[in-house]
């Protein structure tokens, strides 16, 4: 049964796309941070990676919550 707070199909699709893109961003950022020759840019990329990890967790939580409500 679909409860009131569960996500719609569209919302789930957007969140899944976002999660994929955030994960891609994390990979890119860490690879670029390794390759980067500028120290400041390296630090910037590490901080972006950190924020991206946080985003991915947020999205996972959102998707996970909705899965629990499908029962």
């Amino acid at each position: 049964m679909l409860q009131q707070n569960s996500l719609t199909q569209k919302e789930r699709a957007y969140l899944k796309d976002a999660l994929e893109l955030e994960n891609l961003c994390i990979t890119k950022c860490s690879v670029y941070a390794d390759q980067c020759s500028d120290h400041d840019l390296k630090n910037m990329m590490f901080s972006i990676t950190k924020s991206k990890r946080h985003h991915a967790n947020m999205i996972k939580q959102e998707l996970g919550n909705s899965e629990l409500q499908y029962q």
Partner: protein, 147 residues
């Protein structure tokens, strides 16, 4: 483009620092568009808030990358019109001024002066056309109403 490329000394197959930042910025822009759609499509306020928070963070990241690129001279969007004015000088400014007056002339000629020209000769007011024929009828109706 005339930006200083920074190749790694070990391999020439790597991306330059500028290309890396540009790639990250484009990915962030793509994410931002996705979150915007997410906000518009979400049905519950909770999901909408999540998308908005993610969107705000994405904007912050893009701003950080943008500033870093701008500081290094890798991303310099020109101010609108400034480059043209610098290169063409006074002549360009005078045409710009002329353009604004042309707009008002257009408004006058299309709006007031030629108004009514699309009507055929018979339909124009003041000639022997439909307007002349209609006038007595309305007068007659008015008189009937008053009586």
């Amino acid at each position: 483009m005339d930006h200083p490329k920074q190749f790694s000394p070990t391999s020439r197959n790597r991306l330059s620092d500028r290309d890396m930042l540009l790639d990250l910025m484009i990915t962030e822009k793509h994410l931002s568009r996705l979150y915007d759609q997410g906000v518009l499509e979400s049905t519950s306020s909770m999901t909408s808030n999540t998308f908005e928070r993610l969107q705000a963070d994405t904007h912050d990241n893009v701003r950080t990358i943008f500033t870093a690129m701008q500081q290094r001279g890798w991303y310099n969007p020109e101010r609108a019109g400034r480059a043209e004015r610098l290169s063409k000088g006074k002549q360009k400014q005078s045409t710009e001024f002329f353009d604004t007056t042309a707009d008002s002339k257009y408004a006058v000629s299309s709006g007031t002066r030629r108004f009514g020209r699309r009507l055929s000769r018979e339909q124009r007011p003041g000639k022997s056309g439909i307007f002349n024929n209609q006038k007595p009828e309305t007068d007659f109706e008015d008189r009937q109403y008053r009586n």
